[in-house]
């Protein structure tokens, strides 16, 4: 999995010492991160650590104030989410992925609808849209009874998967996932992580934003830890164990308290 890591120039996205200020508030400072094809880079941090600011920079919603942001080795400043999409970076937001009342197939192609015919008869290629949606979801292992059902009737996990399948289908090279498992139960989280791994196996570079080190460690190849807007650590999977990752996320003095509580809970159960 780490074969590509040897060749540093192969990074799809590379952030070096990136900072972002909102007025005099430091939202992000000196954060570096790299995303390689076929790998999952996890960004871990508690609430307010700067995860959403980071995601907004990569997605093209905000621009960085300092440092460099390179796509395929070329330094870039993204002007809009559309430009990010055109450069192969697709972002799946926690709540913003879909329009609940619209059918699954309309959601799947929203913003990039295929058309057929010309002039006034230019129309949606409904047949292709329906069939592609069904086939692409099936490929990811979701067997929908009816692609016409409103996407709001799917479970949270399924909706995430539709959004991931959509990004894969539209040729994204980099997939940015904002807390895909945050609102999900254990089983649904497992399903979503399976699709994240499937996207990785399809050759995409994945940025997985999460505050759950257990989920991150299951699928991640690299881990970037954020704390209060600054980088608190960056590790390859081979360099760090789950315990240590959790320890670093919890951090310093808070950790003793946490491990104490955890041990009590474990012995209580056993």
């Amino acid at each position: 999995m780490n074969d590509d890591a040897a060749n540093d120039d192969a990074a799809l996205v590379r952030l070096t010492d990136v900072s972002k200020f909102y007025g005099n508030i430091r939202a992000l400072e000196g954060v570096s991160l790299e995303v390689h094809a076929g790998e999952i880079t996890c960004v871990l941090g508690d609430n307010g650590a700067g995860k959403s600011t980071l995601i907004k920079i990569i997605a093209g919603l905000h621009q960085h104030d300092a440092g460099t942001f390179a796509i395929d080795g070329e330094e870039t400043r993204l002007a809009s989410p559309r430009e990010a999409l055109d450069r192969g970076i697709a972002t799946v937001y926690q709540d913003l992925a879909v329009v609940p009342l619209m059918p699954v197939w309309r959601n799947f192609f929203l913003g990039s609808e295929p058309t057929t015919g010309a002039g006034p008869f230019k129309r949606l290629d409904v047949r292709k849209m329906r069939e592609t949606t069904r086939a692409e979801l099936l490929r990811m292992g979701i067997d929908l009874r009816d692609v016409d059902q409103p996407i709001g009737t799917l479970s949270g996990g399924e909706r995430q998967c539709v959004a991931i399948a959509r990004a894969v289908y539209f040729g994204a090279k980099v997939l940015v996932l904002d807390e895909p498992t945050a609102a999900l139960g254990v089983k649904q989280s497992g399903v979503v992580l399976k699709y994240v791994a499937a996207a990785r196996d399809a050759g995409l570079g994945v940025v997985l934003i999460t505050h759950n080190p257990h989920h991150a460690y299951l699928v991640g190849d690299r881990f970037v830890l954020l704390k209060r807007g600054a980088m608190a650590g960056s590790h390859a999977k081979s360099e760090i164990a789950l315990d240590e990752l959790t320890r670093q996320m919890a951090g310093g003095s808070e950790l003793d308290q946490l491990s104490h509580e955890l041990e009590r809970a474990t012995s209580g159960e056993g």
Binding site: V99, P100, R134, L138
Partner: protein
């Protein structure tokens, strides 16, 4: 696809049709329309005559022409309270420009189109720029247009109505387009009925089979999600307001060509009739759901009720009560539909 796919389809056949029918936004309106039709057929003897049908259809079409774009706008998540007086504005501009410039009526009709579209653009532009609710923006436009209609007409004509333009060049041909009668199968039909049906067909095509239609549903059902996947949200909304303006222009020209003079105070309150027709037709007040055909059924219910009460020789005072009750029932039905559609997990 794998072998499981056809099997998956078969699971649907049994309940699929019923469920799909229940999922149609027009369902409530069609049931309501059938009930209203049967009701007036029983209580009002002349209701079933061909000439009555023609009258009912004409009344429906005058509301229906505006209900179509108002429905699209509502699917796109916005209101237009200025739609009623915009019709009057459009008629006034057309009439007064032709009269004052002693120009061909068609010139006035063209100027009116530009002015009306500009008002629609103003609504959409202000909405997308200020991010204020459309209720406030278009309420402002409504009041401003109401004042301008009266003010300008009094200033230019000296009275509250425009001068007659019936003897001017181009009036007859304009009248043919906007306010003529056709006889089809022995039934006398107003040309507005054709405009109405044409607009319903066009809007249905746009909604269900074009990219713009997909975007209309998306900006109403989840503007942030739509923006995130690259849908031009602001352009879509401005386009919808201009569609309302375009239809207001058609209605306004009809008003002018059929009566020859225009009363400057007209149109106030009609915006609610358009909204009611759209809501009865299954549009959700919160956007993202509805249909153009539904708005037509809603307008037809309006036409049947307003004329049916006359044929039944009742006091027309009851009409508004009936309309209000229909609106409540329709909204309750729609809320129920939405709950089913959105029920997650």
């Amino acid at each position: 696809m794998t072998a499981t796919a056809p099997e998956a389809d078969e699971r649907l056949v049994g309940q699929g049709h019923v469920r799909r029918l229940l999922g149609r936004p027009e369902l409530g309106a069609v049931v309501g329309a059938a009930a209203v039709f049967v009701f007036f057929s029983v209580v009002a003897e002349p209701f079933l005559q061909a000439s009555s049908l023609s009258t009912v259809l004409y009344a429906s079409s005058t509301i229906g022409i505006m209900a179509v774009p108002v429905a699209l706008l509502m699917i796109g998540g916005e209101f237009d309270l200025s739609a009623g007086v915009m019709v009057t504005t459009s008629a006034l501009v057309s009439s007064m420009f032709s009269y004052q410039m002693t120009a061909n009526v068609w010139v006035g009709v063209g100027v009116s189109l530009l002015v009306t579209l500009a008002v629609g653009f103003f609504n959409g532009f202000m909405l997308t720029r200020t991010k204020l609710p459309s209720f406030i923006i278009t309420l402002g436009t409504f009041l401003m247009l109401t004042g301008l209609n009266l003010g300008f007409t009094k200033l230019i004509s000296g009275t509250v109505s425009t001068k007659t333009i019936g003897d001017m060049e181009g009036f007859d041909s304009a009248r043919t387009l906007f306010a003529s009668h056709l006889t089809i199968g022995g039934v006398d039909l107003q040309v507005t009925i054709l405009w109405w049906l044409g607009l319903v067909a066009l809007a249905t095509w746009i909604l269900l089979r074009t990219r713009a239609g997909n975007w209309i549903f998306a900006v109403g059902g989840g503007a942030d999600a739509a923006r995130a996947v690259g849908v031009p949200v602001n352009k879509t909304k401005i386009g919808l307001y201009m569609a309302v303006a375009f239809c207001a222009w058609i209605s306004g020209q009809h008003l002018l060509m059929s009566y020859d003079v225009v009363q400057s105070g007209e149109g106030v309150g009609n915006e609610f009739l358009y909204i009611i027709a759209a809501v009865i037709g299954g549009c959700l007040m919160t956007g993202g759901y509805g249909s153009a055909i539904g708005s037509a059924v809603g307008a037809f219910i309006f036409g049947m009720t307003s004329k049916g009460i006359v044929y039944a020789q009742w006091n027309p005072d009851w009409f508004k009560f009936f309309l209000g009750a229909m609106l409540l029932l329709a909204t309750l039905l729609n809320a129920w539909v939405r709950k089913r559609a959105e029920a997650s997990k």
